[in-house]
């Protein structure tokens, strides 16, 4: 049975691709593939299974969902495909959800975690103060960690990529400087840092003291965090942060506070 295995892997956030014949011989046949485990099901031909599942693992790695054409035995070259029926295979990739790591267990954190969950993020909240970093305060978060930024980013940083986000909501230098240092060492797609323009200016001085001065590093920091839409409440601010993340991910020019001047609140 394919469906129970598919549902189980999706729920456990394990990468999995579902292949379905949507045109040609064996219409409706399905095959499930994941890295490092045996395939389940068949598209009706051993060689087609081998070639298409190999392609699907590549698609899965890239997070792509698409339709691919094969010959009935997995032929792929145009010459081989002449005079044979074409099997169209829908390759559907289920990648683990993107991650958002939020440093600082403050009021804004709960709102941001809620909005991030709506958008499908796996949300981690981290703060060194155990009275604040509790599951009871952040029931929507997937994990609440009582620790400092450096160990978290040393351990998880290598897994972060373009789809992931780090949001630093503490205004406390002893917390946000190591968080920024750790974040800049990753390939994470978004680094947002909360604080007024004045806070950001003094933060830049402290970052310079620890040797973070390169303009390409500083340009990665979205601070003040979020879009210039006049947000006031934690919820509105959360929306403005998530909208900025979406805009940056797809490369749109959006009115980021980090790229403007003037008051954040009017």
């Amino acid at each position: 049975m394919i469906y129970p295995a598919l549902a189980d892997r999706i729920r456990k956030n394990k990468p999995v691709a579902l292949l379905t014949v949507i045109d040609g011989p064996n219409l409706g046949a399905t095959l499930l593939t994941s890295p490092g485990v045996e395939n389940i099901g068949t598209l009706g031909d051993q060689e087609l299974d081998r070639v298409s599942s190999r392609d699907a693992l590549g698609e899965l790695e890239a997070g792509r969902t698409s339709v691919r054409n094969y010959g009935p035995s997995g032929q792929v070259t145009p010459e081989d495909l002449q005079d044979t029926p074409v099997v169209r295979v829908f390759v559907e990739s289920f990648s683990p959800p993107p991650q958002m790591i939020i440093f600082g267990a403050v009021d804004f954190t709960a709102a941001l975690a809620r909005v991030a969950k709506v958008l499908g993020y796996y949300v981690v909240v981290c703060d060194a103060r155990e009275v604040f970093a509790t599951h009871r305060r952040f029931p929507m978060a997937d994990e609440v960690l009582v620790t400092w930024p450096t160990p978290v980013l040393t351990e998880r940083g290598p897994d972060l990529g373009a789809r992931d986000a780090i949001c630093i909501l503490t205004h406390d230098p002893k917390f946000d400087v190591p968080a920024i240092q750790g974040a800049l060492a990753t390939s994470v797609g978004y680094i947002g840092v909360m604080g007024s323009r004045k806070t950001h200016a003094t933060r830049l001085e402290r970052l310079a003291e620890v040797g973070i001065t390169k303009s390409q590093d500083l340009a990665r920091l979205m601070s003040p965090i979020g879009l210039d839409i006049g947000s006031r409440t934690p919820e509105e601010t959360a929306i403005s942060i998530c909208a900025e993340i979406i805009g940056k991910r797809v490369g749109r020019s959006v009115p980021s506070l980090a790229n403007s001047d003037g008051p954040i609140h009017k």
């Binding site: 999706i10 379905t20 219409l27 698409s66």
Partner: protein, 105 residues
């Protein structure tokens, strides 16, 4: 698919027959990307969506037909509603290709 697993599990536990419709391709503007999915059970109950609400009604009818005929699955295309080729359509001007099949796997 992720968001409809709960409903599908419930229907499976009730031994309902289920059809799944998935967006496999879009041309031009389309409200949902490939992979968007909805499911329909034999009683006509629905979960999930494959467009902005434009074609779901027609998809339910197709899905019930597929369950009734024991069809292995079918590609269905919906396009712009003013085009006479498409009875039910999208107002956005795009074309959406769906694959609808019984959840027999």
């Amino acid at each position: 698919m992720r968001e409809i697993l709960g409903d599908i599990d419930r229907w499976r536990a009730q031994h309902k027959r289920i059809a799944v419709a998935r967006v496999v391709d879009i041309e031009g503007s389309g409200p949902r990307d490939p992979g968007a999915a909805m499911a329909v059970n034999e009683d006509g109950e629905v979960c999930g969506s494959v467009s902005g609400g434009c074609v779901e009604g027609a998809v339910v009818a197709e899905a019930l037909e597929i369950l009734k005929n024991n069809s292995p699955g079918q590609l269905v295309k919906f396009g712009y509603s003013d085009d006479e080729a498409f009875a039910v359509g999208l107002t956005c001007g795009g074309v959406v290709h769906l694959f609808i099949q019984p959840l027999s796997w």
